[in-house]
Symmetry: D3
Subunit: 245 residues, 6 copies
């Protein structure tokens, strides 16, 4: 099985973290194709960044369809463009926030999300409502780390995230932690050891859920609103995005 994991931002070092997590999670026999958006923002930290990142994501989905990919992971915690990606793909497409939130609801009766900048918290809160997870999540917590600081030793990202996780357990009464950024994928196992509760990285679990669905022959429904886009012209710079039937 070939699963394409798309980092919708343009930072290759972050794709490397994501790809490593995806490969570590994948079953034997699964090929992980990792892609960095050709046209994304350096990091995704708001509605605008997210909106623009969708173009690169959709290009990578379309390339994946040409290349015979069996499923996709959108590796940004805001799950940008998820429904559009599902229209464009035949196989299953999962967002990492979606996968992590649902998985957390399987393991604990309440979880907390620990994310980066406070301004992205609303994005997670909207996803929780859209996915029906708002009663399972007790709180979305921000560390005020910028996405690209996660990689920077000077930021003490690990320490700050660990401290926020501890507050989540103590103050929110949560039984599990969802890490709120693809760039935290390399921290999950270590944090889980330290905290003694499930710590869920969306990249790994999304890969496994796509494997699960595709392995059973379950694909994105092509009946109704997730059917392939209708063929029609797109103007100007987006002409290449037009769908051909």
């Amino acid at each position: 099985m070939r699963i394409k994991v798309i980092n919708p931002n343009s930072t290759a070092s972050m794709t490397a973290v994501i790809a490593a997590a995806a490969r570590a999670a994948a079953s034997a026999g699964t090929e992980i194709v990792a892609a960095t958006s050709p046209s994304g923002p350096a990091s995704i930290e708001g509605h605008y960044d997210e909106a623009v990142s969708v173009i690169g994501l959709l290009e990578e989905i379309r390339a994946g369809e040409r290349d015979g990919c069996d499923g996709y992971v959108v590796a940004c915690f805001g799950d940008p463009g998820l429904l559009a990606a599902r229209e464009a793909a035949r196989g299953p497409v999962l967002g990492i926030a979606e996968a992590a939130m649902h998985a957390a609801s399987f393991l604990a009766t309440g979880f907390s999300v620990v994310t980066t900048l406070g301004r992205t918290r609303i994005i997670a809160e909207h996803l929780l409502r859209n996915y029906g997870m708002e009663h399972h999540c007790r709180r979305v917590r921000a560390t005020e780390l910028a996405v690209l600081e996660l990689d920077d030793p000077a930021s003490d990202a690990r320490g700050r995230i660990l401290a926020e996780c501890r507050r989540a357990l103590d103050e929110d009464g949560s039984g599990a932690i969802v890490l709120g950024c693809a760039g935290m994928a390399d921290l999950a196992a270590d944090l889980q050891r330290e905290l003694g509760v499930p710590v869920i990285d969306g990249v790994g679990i999304a890969v496994r859920f796509v494997e699960a669905l595709a392995g059973l022959g379950l694909s994105t429904s092509k009946r109704g609103d997730l059917a392939a886009p209708l063929p029609k012209p797109f103007a100007g710079a987006m002409a290449g995005m037009a769908w051909r039937g």
Copy 2:
């Protein structure tokens, strides 16, 4: 006051309908700047179309900021890119679905939405939940008219929409109708006369609500998640979308 009304699709004839409705609705002293997306799909009929249309929309918002526009209307019933547009703008930004749904809740205890293709219904349903209007809307109804058929006399668009409105009143017990496409803007007054209930075109009411807010000095909040996007590089084809502080 200068209000920019942006048609996120690329069909100029539809922009003409929208512009006429916006100008008819605007108060004396309001200048309507109507724009057709330079890079949108010919029509927006699904998640994919919507996602791609956001780029042109954001370009037009940014141009509007340079041109001193006081507020914006996103003239597509799915309100694509609304929160991203709010990050990019100083003045208020309203979506036509948002404006129409809220207005309907001011005039009736229950309303129905009458829209185009069935596959777009889910978009309206998601908006209703996001806006808190799901208890005020009794049903979203599709006519199975394609967006570009609205303009085509052969489609009998008016007749089919009128029939669906009548079913909404009879079967849903609704007290008002929300028209679910910017391209229906020219039908509202006539349908209202025929049906004897409020029939709300989002373009007109969104223009008036933007006037109301901007006229009182109320702008998009720049504290928190609607603050201007963070300056950062964007890669490749989207390099021009990067925000400069």
Copy 3:
């Protein structure tokens, strides 16, 4: 256009504050008719006060209908008698809580309400649910100022409200403030300058929203439960409230 703004309490000095805010907000060409309830409580600070105030409000609506008013604003933050008023009126009727809450949802992804006595908080909370705004409002905060203290320099009303607004921004993460009493209408602009976020007075925005609706020919739906009251006798002291077909 003639818009009647009704203060459902009997305190004329408060009507003066309301009328000034309404006139400052109104467009050129709009006539504001301000009315003090002939039979209201001196202030409205609970369910009982609110319930009794509705009679005076409805009398003023009915007088307004005789006088050819085009729309109405119920200028008390609990929006007392709103649906009853809509039955009695032909034009649009807006409550100031309703208008302010909806407006806040157009400008920020989360807002706080800052109101008077703690015992009125539940009224705002019920309205938030009725209007579908409970996911947009992060918290209703009380200053424990009595309504009539707002006018009293000795109360330091402005200072206490400002302090509560600051707490709302810091603790609730809100992007906008809704002022929870018609008697605060004169403070909005000043607080907005000080706080740097939208501060919404319901009186002004309700006037503008009524203008918007009435200006487009949109009226209260007379189909269904907002149709005119059924003609029937009322007993005793309320005989005069009977509706005549």
Copy 4:
């Protein structure tokens, strides 16, 4: 124990039906004081009727307090003025819709409401949401009987209500019926026999619930928003409604 059952409309023959149902339901040792509103509408069939009826209701509550009543039943299915009445009373106050809806949720996993005119349906629907019963009620059904037709043999009220109840069982999959008007109190037992499912008249069950609460020494909370109204002057015709500390 003395329980006052207040018919907020002015039709004495309807009070007679209500009083009979209340007395049939009351335990030995409970005195039922039945009151007809001195100033209500002849029947309550909309928001306006309801709003005006609250004055008479509150007068009767206040008289009841002077007369040492231990609890109250608001005998109109819209539960008009319920929270205001709770402020004014020391003992428990129940609405008949409230009591019947909660009771139905104890007896079946889903129930239907069968009421009078279609225009009152929205009132029941709002109550369901306020009381948290919207997931237990499968549908509110109108018979299009006017309230005062219930008493009129020519209306075939019983037959039309029975037919609607049957439709509720068949089409809604409900396990119990809530009768949506105090004027149907005399039909409950007979309909229950005929239908073989619980048929709940709010008058009887509200009396019993008030007995239950008051019998255990449980009264309306006087801490917070249901505390007695604040003493203050009321103007004009409502001067007599002012609360004295």
Copy 5:
């Protein structure tokens, strides 16, 4: 009338507390049959304890049916097996959490639950949602008292519960307290005197509500999903639980 009050745990001293509360609450003419589960856990403090306790509860319900009981109270705050018990019974069956939560919503606009161990809080929270009471309850608070400590003078149970109740009033703004364990039944009156707000023990109010329903001839609906279990064999140790038509 004969009401069976079933303690689904096996601790007879706790049944004694429950029986005393039930008898104190019952009307003249009501016979209380108190039962201790023959096969329950010593106390119920989690999902597992609750699940296992249901067998003894159902046996007691079935014995009650043979003995002609008119209704039942499930005297554990998690309301274990409530819907199963309703299938097995003809008369009404109430859980003490259910009865207390609904009663609290009749007396205050917001209440708090004060319970035993933190790990049981989620059970109350799930019940609040199932019963539609989540908007009426402001918070579920744990004292970290084990159930069997309630009886142990060394635990200072009364003092710790009182302190938690005070925090509920101060911090949650609640107007009433629901006691979250059947073993607290003997504390309610005393706490109510001390706190000056309604303090609701579920045992007493459940007995009264069952009296109310059964007294009016209202029974569990036998149409639909609460009909008697379908006759069928059960294997092994549960063979005796098989239902016979």
Copy 6:
């Protein structure tokens, strides 16, 4: 990896269907241990059957813990005893309804459940709310097939289920089907081929989701309410169910 799939009813032929589906779904290297409840009802078709079935389920979980199982599937569509099972297990435990509903939400924006008897519909509806899936599921549909008829060629189970699935697609506008009984596991692939939309059997997807979680080292949280049951005595016939620390 060893995953135990527990059929909580006592019908071995149904376990055979379940085991076959589980093995067909499992990855290479996963050992499926299938168990039939030693003390369950012959089929589970209501709240009572479900409640009693939990004992056998918990015994099998406990046996599984002794045998070193890495995770569990509760193979009955009502997910009986799920939270209790999670307390008793270290590894992940999934219900087949839970797994299937979440999976459906990954593949379509709306799905329908097609189940057996109408009286079990409420069980699925309660699960949908508990899992946060009520906005993703458009309808729960009953075929009125008894569980044990699924196996009986005379029942034309396949034909009736197929017909109900077609109605779901046509009337509900769903994009995917969730099969509402473990005994339908062998029909999924065939129905999917026929209908052209994802048809989800919970057994297979639950196995795969358990593999996914356990494979990544994610287990049931042992912090908070899913911690192991507290050690304490159980009385009488349930003495053997007591937890030992």
